[in-house]
């Protein structure tokens, strides 16, 4: 655990300043020239889906397979309670 | 980003997390866990993530709290550490 704390502090010492708008994740263009996701979403969310809430657009459209997986996770959890705790009564018995 | 507010919430978060882990009565631990979730939701809103704060308040503090209480009632309430 001390090791874990050490690694974390080591990592945090080199993370970019929090909230710095010049951060790479907030930048206009990445160092290899591809689109940066965060800004693309801010600029195009309303144009693409006519929805003011960007989080909803990202959740429901751009990264919809994530959301689908999330729904499947919840569905899995429900089935697990069914599997571990319940035993269906057979009619034949 | 009101950093004084955030600092206060951080301190409360740490305290409630330690209390939730150290207290012997599990029901108290569960209540402290709910307090932890709610403070966390407050912190998310203070950081501007209203969606995440809303979700954390509803799911983390609400539904998880109910399920935690249910588990404590279904099993034992005492803890040895």
């Amino acid at each position: 655990m001390v090791l874990f704390a050490g690694i974390m502090i080591y990592a945090a010492s080199d993370l970019p300043y929090r909230g710095d708008p010049d951060n790479l994740m907030h930048a206009e263009e990445s160092i290899t020239g591809t689109t940066v996701m965060g800004n693309y979403f801010i600029k195009n969310a309303y144009r693409d889906a006519r929805t003011p809430n960007m989080v909803t657009v990202v959740l429901g459209d751009y990264r919809s397979i994530d959301t689908f997986g999330e729904q499947v996770v919840i569905y899995t959890a429900g089935l697990i309670t069914l599997l571990v705790l319940r035993r269906s009564r057979r009619r034949s018995e | 980003m009101i950093w004084e507010l955030e600092l206060v919430i951080y301190l409360f978060l740490a305290v409630s997390a330690i209390v939730a882990l150290e207290v012997r009565d599990l029901l108290v631990a569960v209540v402290m866990m709910t307090v932890f979730s709610f403070l966390m939701a407050l912190l998310f809103v203070a950081m501007g993530a209203i969606d995440v704060g809303f979700t954390e308040a509803v799911i983390g503090a609400g539904v998880t709290g109910i399920l935690f209480v249910l588990v404590v009632f279904q099993t034992s309430r005492k803890s040895n550490d």
Binding site: A11, M37, Y40, R63, S64, I65, A77, L79, I80, R90 | -
Partner: protein, 493 residues
Amino acid sequence: MIESHLPAYIALTFVLFSVLIPAFGLWRSELSQPLAVIGSGIAAAFSVYGFLSYLNDGALRYFFGGWEPPVGIEFVYDGLSGFFVMVINVVAFFVLIHSHHIGKREFPGKEMPYYALAMLMMLGFNGMILTGDLFNLYVFLEIASLSGYALIAIGEKPAPYAAFRYLIIGTAGGTLYLLGVGFMYTVTGTLNIIDMAAMLPELYANNAVFAALILMIVGIGVKAALFPMHGWLPDSYTYAASSSSALIAPIGTKVAAYILFRIILWLFGIEITDAVAPITTIIGIFAAIGILYGSIMAIAQSELKRMLAYSSISQIGYIIMGLSLANPWGFAGAMLHVLNHAVMKACLFMISGQMRLKEGHSDITKFDDSYRKKYPWTMAAFTIAAISMIGLPPLAGFFSKWYLVLGTIDNSNWLFLAVILISSLLNAVYFFRILEKVYMRNPFKGQKEASDATRDESPLSMMIPTGILAIGLIVIGFANAVIVSVLLGIYPL
């Protein structure tokens, strides 16, 4: 048309059947198992077809929602993912056929959620392999591991406790992985693997990247049962129902190993991985310790399933060792060993399930030579799989170890070479112990004579999958040159 949608079809088949099974299962519970077999059969057919068309046409990228990769999420169907998807789907198909009678005996009345969760677990594993997005990988990882915990929790009396320990360790690992993804996202600003791999050479001096690498390796290593993080595995595999352990043992750790391959070789690349500290060497040393530890612990066990579980720890060590060698021969050996070990372990766990069905136990000390008369075909399949596990030619297990040995010689890494040879001897010790009990005359007095026993073979629905996998081992052994030539084409450097 069908080729361009293939990655999505493979995953969506499992979603479709995981929804269909509850829909039909509420009405007639006994339909669940055939539906699961059909679902995994379709997916296996898709994945075999996909791998063949990959050999002709090359890699394929599938954009969900029609958004281009840095913005949207993609599925990448290249050689490595195609190979893994093919292996796990085909093995799962046979295991699900085999589970018909086990299901009736070990978890009666729970078929519907059981097979739905088996489908969901396969969805998770396929998604983990195919996805090209780090956060999406986390989501699929959680699907697969949640259903894995549930499948383990079904079984003997201590099974839920074993599953709970796995849950705590596995979820902590998943959370550490997510933290690693967070570091990577903060530094690079993207989540797509291909996009990120292009950026990393300019950022490799960053501390956060190094910490993210360690967090990811630890998080995934928990799932892969890499040596110091293997504590959950023996209990889980021993207490779980036989069909669960037959389904999870060949597939689960392999998929985690795949993620390690993907992260180290494709995302970071060897140079960046070793830039700050010699990560690959450290992983290799842990893998070597794991190989020896697993083999020695397996000798000490008297329960067949627990012995196989420890043997799994040792075999996953071979695969990770092939990764740490980081040369084409080691890579090919590791890939071939993924295929072999999936088939061998599935075969062996299926046989232990048959023993539990017929005898009511799988305790090695109670094995005697009457088994040879009672279950001739089962024991023949067991012999083939065991010999292949030890690594005698011309069976499949020999060739993967051979290529690993070539890899160590190529790196002139004599320590690993010695480890591979020693562990082969240890493997021989613990498998020949069983073979001796079954085929030699029993030295104890008062035991049943072999001639007394009548033939009492397992049902056909169990015998056919086991037999096919055992024959498959021989075929892989003879066809190894072809497979390796394909695998060498996948190697990224």
